[in-house]
Symmetry: C2
Subunit: 393 residues, 2 copies
């Protein structure tokens, strides 16, 4: 082929979530936004805090060459220091700016981390259901994506199943807690068991098994504890983004943290920087690095998502739908009313409801609803959900 | 190895340009900025036009969820339309937004383009001296970087040498005109000859040879014509950045253009989108996409660079230095006073002058001076240049 086939395929197929969102946008233009109940995307409905606007206005008055110039590849020292200080205050750690590499969002952070540690032929374990782009990034880094199903009832990571899936080729396990798409938050007990498995199997195999902890939803929880993963397993690398916590998904700002407790810290810091360089990342957007200095500790408006969550779960449970009660993030994992989630999705779509079928996340029989939408969308969707339910009676 | 060796090596070695710049920053802190003559970086000294500030202030008042939300992966339609319209006005073309894919700067644009077209084992030709990161991105995409020396006198692409270097594995030739590091601008004649070579050899080999035209310095010229490359060769893909023309290097905003005249247009558009997706690029920074809508046609302050260029060339020629008269960009290519450019660099460094030795750009015997610095730096550096010259008398 005269071009790269895999790139072509990834471009032609697109992400199924983005496909449904594009259909939703077109459909809204056709019949009116108020008549489409689009639960497909994870685009926060809560606005960025006003401190972001204030920080932009303040920084816009800096000398432009200073404001918009290249920053070090790993980010401005002051921005990395602000992030390190925030983590240290919250988790009792002692990180310094050198442990952080600022990125163009979590996608870049994960892609960079994988390219920093993976060699061709390695395996990376994901806990299904999982964010579908994980597979794309794992395969691009040259590894095989190995799916391990979460516990079928609690959707906690099934640590025994992880232990069984580990082979001499296993380089890393990826988790995201609070979880997309289910909303599960891994308990301290789950993470301790996982750490035990990775330690024991790593020692048996004679090589490190890294834990990549993708944490864009850390700040969005409904009472559950979100343990600090590196304090439980020292071979952890953390990937973070302000897309959800500060509602800045379009601005592409996040980071990779190589905790100073990681026994391979110095090598990993270099490998992360090298991976960023080789993929074509030069630095994270400079203005938003400065916004972080001002806004890193701004609280996330979880209340709005909690209200949406209650409206959606109350409405759907009244109609007899089954779902997993989410402890975090802003997704509801709803049981399909027939075994084929795609067929269920198509019936929903005919009623202008747009969830994402679970096939996209590596399992069957469920759909994901993003409730990072307006409360009106949730409330107004209920008659359509009722019609859908009645089709199965 | 427990991590990726190449990523480690790219991180541990760093870019030599960045190494020198880091030394310069440390040295300035030590002995005062006015005592270090740092010509290492391509960080524009000309401030971004005030229209950028005004656009930021205006856009900061938009509803935040609209302003900071995800955009389509290829960019906001309105931003791509603004770019397409600007190109069409200037080059008599008929591009539409679908031909453009907005990126996090030119580094991302080039990395994405290479990953869109290259398969493992391919070869990509660069014209030496060349921007050293080209090799990193070419190798990361799985190809071999093949260096072809430019004409030794004019530093135009040596099209006969390119013809000889083409093999059945040649997938693409990369050019940047105005050129970094020499400041050469390829003439229409050179580009026509290059197009002829690529057409003929491509037909003989029975496959397309792409021309990747990296154009961050298009707007910075001192009278020379910069022909529109796709109008001369239809298998061209253009990579652009606003880092230099709008002085926004830290903000990471640029694009890939697949011209609608490219016979493989539709395939390439998908492959570019797929490559962006697989490398972990989600969208270009949203606020600066909006800034483009307002500022895409802002003129570049070339006058300031012309003043610097004159001061530097006047000063150095009086001292007896030889250099290539630059037709574009903001670099001066100065002949080393001894065959070993690294040794010459070290003597310069001892006098607090920081150029970049030509070894970094794939050839020996020269240094690059970035004159995107203050006029004072240039003027105040002359006594040091004189001392350096006298060491060779």
């Amino acid at each position: 082929m005269d071009i790269n086939e895999k790139s072509y395929a990834y471009g032609a197929a697109k992400s199924s979530i983005r496909e449904i969102a594009a259909y939703g946008a077109a459909r809204k233009a056709q019949i009116g936004a108020e008549n489409v109940f689009d639960f497909s995307l994870g685009n926060p409905s809560v606005p960025a805090p006003d401190a972001v606007r204030k920080s932009i206005l303040k920084n816009a008055e800096l000398p432009p060459a200073q404001l918009h110039g290249y920053t070090p590849a790993s980010g401005m020292p002051a921005a990395r220091e602000a992030v390190a200080n925030s983590l240290n205050r919250r988790f009792g750690t002692s990180y310094d700016p050198g442990d952080l590499y600022l990125t163009c969002g979590a996608a870049a952070a994960i892609s960079i981390t994988l390219n920093a540690i993976v060699n061709p032929g390695d395996e990376v374990i994901v806990i299904a259901p999982y964010f579908p782009e994980y597979r794309v990034w794992i395969e691009t880094a040259g590894a095989t994506c190995v799916e391990v199903m979460a516990d079928a009832t609690t959707f906690q990571a099934d640590t025994e199943a992880v232990a069984k899936a580990i082979t001499p080729k296993t380089k890393a396990v990826m988790i995201d807690s609070p979880n997309n798409p289910v909303g599960a938050v891994y308990t301290r007990q789950t993470l301790e068991a996982l750490a035990q498995v990775l330690t024991t199997r790593g020692e048996e195999l004679g090589h490190d098994i890294y834990l990549i902890s993708d944490e864009p939803y850390r700040e969005i929880t409904y009472g559950a504890e979100v343990p600090w993963v590196p304090s439980l397993y020292d071979r952890t690398i953390v990937c973070y983004s302000y897309s959800k916590s500060l509602s800045l998904p379009g601005e592409r700002i996040g980071w990779v943290l190589v905790p100073n407790t990681n026994p391979r810290h110095d090598e990993l810091v270099y490998a992360v920087a090298g991976a960023g360089r080789k993929l074509g990342f030069v630095c994270a957007p400079a203005l938003f690095q400065r916004v972080l200095i001002d806004c890193v500790d701004e609280p996330t408006n979880v209340e709005a998502y909690a209200t949406n969550r209650k409206a959606l779960t109350d409405g759907l449970s009244k109609l007899g739908y089954e779902y997993i009660e989410p402890d975090g993030a802003f997704y509801l994992w709803v049981k399909s009313l027939e075994p084929d989630a795609e067929a269920f999705f198509n019936k929903a779509k005919a009623l202008e409801i747009l969830p994402v079928p679970s096939n996209s996340f590596g399992c069957t029989g469920w759909v994901r609803l993003g409730y990072c939408v307006s409360l009106d969308t949730i409330q107004n969707s209920m008659p359509a959900w009722e019609k859908l339910r009645n089709q199965y009676k």
